[in-house]
């Protein structure tokens, strides 16, 4: 693996290897006072963030540091980017300084793909526009695997603004690859065109014997009893004023995960949220803090998954070579 740009087209073996590595790293660090592995000593990881982010950037930084990489954070607001430098020039500059891996977040869909074509370094997509956020899907998969054992044959319900969500796109592709069924619940205004036809991952043929891997509905109450995990998407403020739904109240009533709705889930089912949460909007305060919610597990696993990604990109290849 040279880059991690998207979960689309990732092979199941690749995903499993990444998740196994993340699990091994987690076990290796468990209970340690000094959480530092020498694996990436002398390697330089640059995080290049064109959007503000707390958790993802910090998570990559911690992941790099726990493996002894030198991590340099370049917030786009405070750099030459503010002076009008192009993404290409910024990337080439950072590469010339010796970056081994660029972790990029950018508001334009496809920015990470473009970057990978310009620079000789490894590229990790930490979120590009409304396209992909592959490490989020990987950490979600790690969390689900922990809680549910396997994803094969499980049903994951994703609720909310799928249209503008890179988290949803990454998860749909990855969950299908891992053999799960994905049920999307959203108002029709917040669903991508033709999303019911998705699922052209490398294992699509296995699915077509049974049914489509992606189904769509608009009734959350009806969906919950048959789901093994429910993933609540954040409703972004700009969407609330974009006319995609009449009011936040109506949205919350129709698509919010309330205490009552939590009761509709099977006992083993878990609740995920990629954060940052808007309590009281898409998820009730008490639900977010309930034992069914695995939101802090997601954050914890995020570090290990990102360690695994950096390891597979920067170290594993050398060992093979």
């Amino acid at each position: 693996m040279r880059h991690l740009l998207t979960t689309a087209g990732l092979r199941r073996e690749t995903v499993t290897a990444l998740l196994d590595t993340a699990e091994a790293l987690k076990q290796a660090l468990l209970g340690r006072q000094v959480r530092k592995l020498p694996t990436l000593r002398g390697r330089t990881v640059v995080t290049l963030f064109y959007e503000s982010s707390t958790r993802t950037r910090a998570s990559f930084e911690i992941a790099g540091k726990w493996m002894s990489a030198d991590v340099v954070n370049v917030p786009a607001g405070g750099s030459s980017v503010a002076k009008g430098e192009s993404l290409r020039d910024t990337a080439l500059t950072l590469t010339a300084m010796g970056a081994d891996c660029v972790v990029i977040r950018h508001p334009a869909s496809g920015a990470a793909h473009r970057l990978a074509g310009w620079v000789p370094t490894h590229v990790v997509n930490a979120g590009d526009g409304t396209h992909q956020h592959p490490t989020q899907a990987l950490l979600d998969a790690a969390t689900l695997r922990e809680r549910l054992g396997t994803l094969n044959g499980r049903t994951v319900t994703i609720v909310g603004d799928v249209l503008h969500s890179r988290v949803a796109r990454s998860n749909i592709e990855l969950l299908i690859t891992l053999g799960a069924r994905v049920h999307l619940v959203a108002p029709p205004t917040l669903l991508p065109w033709g999303v019911q036809n998705w699922g052209s991952g490398p294992h699509r043929e296995e699915w077509e014997e049974h049914s489509r891997p992606v189904t769509v509905g608009h009734d959350l109450d009806a969906a919950l009893p048959g789901t093994d995990a429910v993933m609540m998407l954040r409703v972004q403020a700009e969407r609330m004023h974009g006319g995609f739904f009449p009011s936040t109240r109506e949205y919350s009533v129709s698509y919010g995960l309330t205490e009552a709705r939590l009761g509709l889930l099977p006992e083993h089912a878990v609740v995920l949220h990629p954060g940052p949460m808007r309590r009281g909007m898409e998820i009730a305060h008490s639900v977010a803090d309930s034992p069914r919610a695995v939101i802090t597990d997601q954050v914890r696993n995020g570090v290990h998954v990102r360690m695994a990604v950096l390891y597979h990109l920067l170290a594993a290849q050398e060992e093979q070579a």
Binding site: A8, S86, L87, R88, H106, P107, A108, S109, G110, A111, H113, R114, G117, D128, G129, T130, H131, Q132, R166, R169, P192, W193, G194, V195, N197, W198
Partner: protein, 431 residues
């Protein structure tokens, strides 16, 4: 005027046995077999197909304003090398071609370069702002004699302004060329609204944004008894609207670009902005419908929407890139690949959609004339059996944003004649 010359053994419209064509004083003086070449320069036509010089109703020559991407000189060269003898230069320059001063400047630069007739298109609205009419009458009365008006790049979306524009140009004997795009439906749009854009996270440009404007404009043209031309038709649905309008005798014409005949949104996967264009590349079903409509005449003609862009405007992330692609030097070959080779058009049909109809729609009376005695020797010679590989860096345009990079395309322009003057020969500009 150069001395008379004789083209030996050419095949007008690619039909029948080869004939000789004698050019004297810029006019086709004789046409027949075994013509006497005494006193004339003799060129061996070798069975090449002869067509009336091609006419492009839709090109962006970027001058004035973006001479780093294209100039009237380089755009004219690209056009002549592509077999064109007339080009309509769109108004979205800087300054906008919305006054007699600017259109006359463009017209005069075109004459100075002299490779093709450059017909400036006048803006419909002042500054392309879509608020009030530009001085259409002054542009029509200018030396440039503007007959086609367009805010291309922007849609004349205000219904009342569009109605007034249609009515007003009727009095000028002109035509409004509409870039049909409802701006509300395409706010932030990046690619054809479909499964591919949805998966790529690119905001969708719905077909209805084009079709609804075309439908509205056809009704406005009907009521105003005015001439409407629809730029770059890109969807199967627009074809159906046009069919409806034409069946009712509404004065509507339409163009399709070579790229909408050949390319689809399948090309978007790598996010290479060379594939970014407005209207966007659509689906394979749309390209099929457009090819059929062009063959049938529902879509009247091919126009390139030649849109050069400086490298930095394409070598960036998708959403930051400017929409548009080069087209003048590749149009004929793409039409061969999509229309001639599959048997949808013969060479007479190519002459119709790339020369005769566009000349008529644009009011270029000296262009798109028959290959016949007494007519201007404005002709292109094509080798239909040749193939060539497109390389953006070797095209005459200053920019190199061709979506056909590395593609092998059929057909080669061997020579282009404008009123008896050879403008290009064997891929080289002759002046």
């Amino acid at each position: 005027m150069r001395r008379p010359f004789l083209l030996r053994g050419i095949r007008p419209y690619g039909a029948g046995d080869p004939v000789d064509l004698l050019v004297r004083d810029g006019v086709i003086a004789e046409l027949g077999t075994g013509l006497d070449g005494t006193g004339a320069e003799v060129l061996d036509g070798g069975g090449l197909v002869a067509l009336p010089g091609l006419v492009d109703l839709h090109a962006h020559l970027r001058e004035p304003g973006r001479e780093d991407a294209e100039t009237i000189a380089t755009g004219s060269a690209a056009a002549a090398l592509g077999g064109y003898t007339a080009v309509f230069a769109m108004a979205n320059t800087d300054p906008v071609a919305d006054t007699a001063v600017v259109v006359e400047h463009v017209y005069r630069r075109g004459r100075e370069v002299g490779l093709v007739d450059v017909h400036p298109v006048g803006a419909v609205s002042s500054g392309l702002r879509g608020e009030r009419l530009a001085e259409l009458g002054a542009m029509a009365a200018s030396v440039a004699a503007v007959r086609m008006f367009s805010d291309d790049g922007m849609c004349v979306h205000d219904s009342l302004l569009m109605r007034r524009a249609l009515e007003y140009t009727r009095g000028l004997g002109g035509v409004i060329a509409q870039h049909a795009e409802d701006p509300r439906l395409t706010a932030g749009a990046q690619a054809h609204e479909g499964e591919i854009a949805a998966r790529l996270g690119l905001a969708g440009w719905p077909a209805a944004a084009e079709e609804s404007i075309v439908a509205r404009d056809c009704l406005l043209a009907r009521d105003a008894a005015a001439a409407l031309h629809v730029c770059h038709v890109s969807t199967a649905g627009t074809v159906e609207v046009l069919r409806w309008a034409k069946e009712r005798g509404i004065r509507v014409s339409a163009e399709v670009t070579p790229h909408h005949l050949l390319l689809t949104d399948e090309r978007l996967a790598g996010y290479d902005p060379v594939n970014k264009v407005n209207p966007p590349l659509r689906t394979a079903a749309d390209t099929r419908a457009l090819r059929a409509a062009l063959a049938e005449g529902i879509v009247d003609c091919v126009a390139t929407d030649h849109a050069p862009h400086a490298a930095q405007d394409k070598d960036c992330e998708w959403s930051a890139a400017r929409p548009g692609m080069l087209g003048l030097q590749t149009a004929l070959s793409v039409v061969m690949a999509t229309m001639v080779r599959p048997g949808l058009l013969d060479w007479r049909g190519v002459a119709r959609v790339m020369s005769e109809r566009p000349a008529r729609i644009g009011g270029a009376t000296e262009q798109g004339r028959p290959i016949a005695v007494g007519q201007p020797a404005t002709v292109v010679l094509v080798d239909p059996d040749a193939t060539w590989t497109v390389r953006g860096a070797t095209l005459a345009s200053l920019a190199d944003n061709t979506p056909y990079e590395g593609m092998e395309l059929p057909g080669r322009v061997v020579a282009t004649l404008l009123r008896g003057e050879i403008t290009t020969e064997d891929g080289k500009v002759q002046r």
